[in-house]
């Protein structure tokens, strides 16, 4: 039987505010345990939450960026459950009236584009952390993270493969970091993904029973977990079993998912509007002020890169993978006025070097202006592609500016034809056998001679010129 996979994602993004959503505690990562947990965060009796304007503003910004409906009046609810890292006994979240509803995101899988619709995005507070290392048989609780603002972003179940799910998660990650509402740091838990996965016979319209994979903190784990889960569900069904709704965890070491809790044990959260918080009102002036802070979004920039710099749709998508990368490309492209060549260098030589050194574009030792200057020297014929790579290495090592490196290392492409003729003379004189072979009809011998000339010029000769001059000399 042919099966179809159905995936919807819930992504918890930590909002990049300085203070918590309901208190004035710092949200900085990595502080000593409980040093950033105030009376509100640890839920001492009598305290009241006061909502952070910055968190609401970031949610508005996100809603505008995905073309969603902003609920002009939205409401916080209490989601009740008992766990030691949730000191109040409930999490403040939004159920019936979230701040953001609808919207859509464009994804690209290979050459194919798709639109994925979003269901909603709501504000809520994060819980603290439980440390299960052994403290004399007890669990340690750190409440620094308690009260950190989250925007939970829920997609429609519109993805049909792990590749699409990863493309959606990546596009969302790009967007939230692009508009500056989340630092996107997955190791620190700033961007956590839950995947709802089900399978159904191809052609069936109703959904199969889903299982939810919790807390995936890398794109690779997301892909592996979905692939495993889909295989497991199909095998279970084909063996005559049935899928029970459940929450599962992904074990990255064993590359498998395992059950955390079944539907029967599922929590009964008893949501109700939080009486400590009044409804939130978004007035039009505020929304318009936030809209004014939105800079060009990735999708718009992709279109512009294609028309302005002549790069392909695929290249434009890669180059807008992050704000920093897009800015880098554009600065370099403007500096040399060679969009396509700049795109090739950014996605080729530069990306390879950054990957190898495990550096981010923001940490690149070669600045965009320097890369632009390098490409200018290729364009004006000073450098061949091969010499340019040597100059690039110089830039990478911090050996100075482009022209200085060309000068100091003698990398200038030979423009003096007298010098080239001298080298050709010497090569022809030293390789009478190759000359003889060429004249007797062996074309391969010609390439050997070109190689010798290039070598003798230390790569500085212009290959096209070498070809031309050498041919002229041999045909005499």
């Amino acid at each position: 039987m042919k099966w179809e996979t159905v995936i919807g994602l819930e992504v918890h993004t930590q909002l990049a505010t300085r203070s918590k959503i309901f208190s004035g505690s710092s949200t900085a990562f990595g502080a000593a345990p409980n040093t950033q947990a105030s009376a509100v965060d640890i839920a001492l009796p009598g305290v009241l939450p006061v909502l952070n304007r910055g968190a609401v503003e970031y949610a508005i910004k996100f809603g505008l960026a995905i073309g969603a409906t902003l609920n002009r009046v939205n409401v916080f609810d209490r989601k009740s459950y008992f766990y030691p890292d949730l000191p109040k006994g409930y999490q403040i979240s939004q159920l019936a009236k979230p701040i953001v509803e609808g919207g859509a995101l464009k994804i690209q899988v290979g050459e194919t584009e798709r639109i994925i619709h979003l269901t909603r995005a709501h504000l809520e507070e994060d819980a603290g952390k439980s440390l299960h290392e052994d403290f004399h048989g007890m669990t340690g609780i750190d409440l620094n993270r308690a009260g950190t603002p989250l925007l939970e972003i829920v997609s429609e179940p519109e993805m049909r493969s792990s590749a699409e799910a990863v493309a959606y998660a990546r596009a969302l990650h790009t967007l939230v970091t692009w508009i500056g509402i989340c630092d996107g740091n997955m190791q620190e838990g700033s961007f956590r993904v839950d995947a709802n996965v089900s399978v159904r016979p191809a052609g069936q319209t109703e959904f199969g029973t889903r299982r939810e994979i919790k807390n995936l903190n890398s794109f690779r784990f997301l892909q592996q977990a979905i692939d495993y889960e889909v295989r497991w569900q199909i095998e279970t069904l084909e063996d005559g079993g049935r899928i029970e709704q459940a929450t599962v965890l992904f074990d990255p070491d064993k590359v498998e998912t395992r059950m955390m809790r079944s539907k029967e044990e599922a929590h009964d959260y008893r949501y109700f509007p939080d009486p400590d918080l009044l409804p939130i009102k978004l007035d039009e002036d505020w929304i318009e002020a936030v809209r004014a802070t939105l800079t060009e979004l990735p999708v718009a920039m992709q279109a512009r890169f294609q028309s302005e710099y002549g790069v392909s749709a695929y290249d434009a998508a890669v180059l807008t993978g992050s704000r920093a990368l897009a800015d880098y490309f554009e600065t370099a492209a403007k500096a040399c006025d060679q969009g396509k060549l700049a795109a090739n260098w950014v996605m080729g030589e530069l990306s390879a070097a950054l990957n190898k050194a495990e550096l981010d574009i923001a940490q690149s030792p070669v600045s965009a202006a320097q890369l632009g200057a390098l490409i200018t020297r290729i364009q004006d014929g000073t450098l061949s592609g091969k010499l340019a790579k040597q100059v690039f290495e110089g830039l990478w090592e911090g050996a100075g500016e482009v022209d200085a490196i060309i000068e100091a290392r003698g990398l200038k492409q030979m423009s003096d034809s007298g010098e080239l003729e001298k080298i050709i003379d010497a090569v022809l004189a030293a390789n009478p056998k190759s000359v003889e072979e060429f004249r007797s009809g062996k074309d391969k011998a010609f390439n050997a001679l070109v190689g010798q000339v290039m070598k003798a010029s230390k790569g500085r000769a212009n290959p096209a010129q070498v070809n031309e001059r050498l041919k002229a000399r041999l045909h005499n």
């Binding site: 004035g24 345990p33 409980n34 766990y83 009236k97 299960h132 340690g140 809790r261 009044l278 009102k281």
Partner: protein, 95 residues
Amino acid sequence: MSLSQDDVKRIARLARIEIDDAQAQATQGQLNTIFDLIATMQAVNTDNVSPMAHAQEVYQRLRDDVVTETDRHAAFQAVAPAVENGLYLVPKVIE
């Protein structure tokens, strides 16, 4: 709608409140009085009335995104039953 004894016990369990049968029975009576009141109110036609999230038509006041709290964990932890390395210790929980 009225609540059964089992409903009451389930709600108590979810709220981590320990009650015996006599208390459950008493509570069931009290809660059903409240549900009766709700049933009476539901007889009113509310077709053109949008639900309210709060009894008054006022909206949440917002604070600016600035850090105003300082580290007071020593004072908070002075009253905690068990603390180690700055962590609150609780009976082991593994889900």
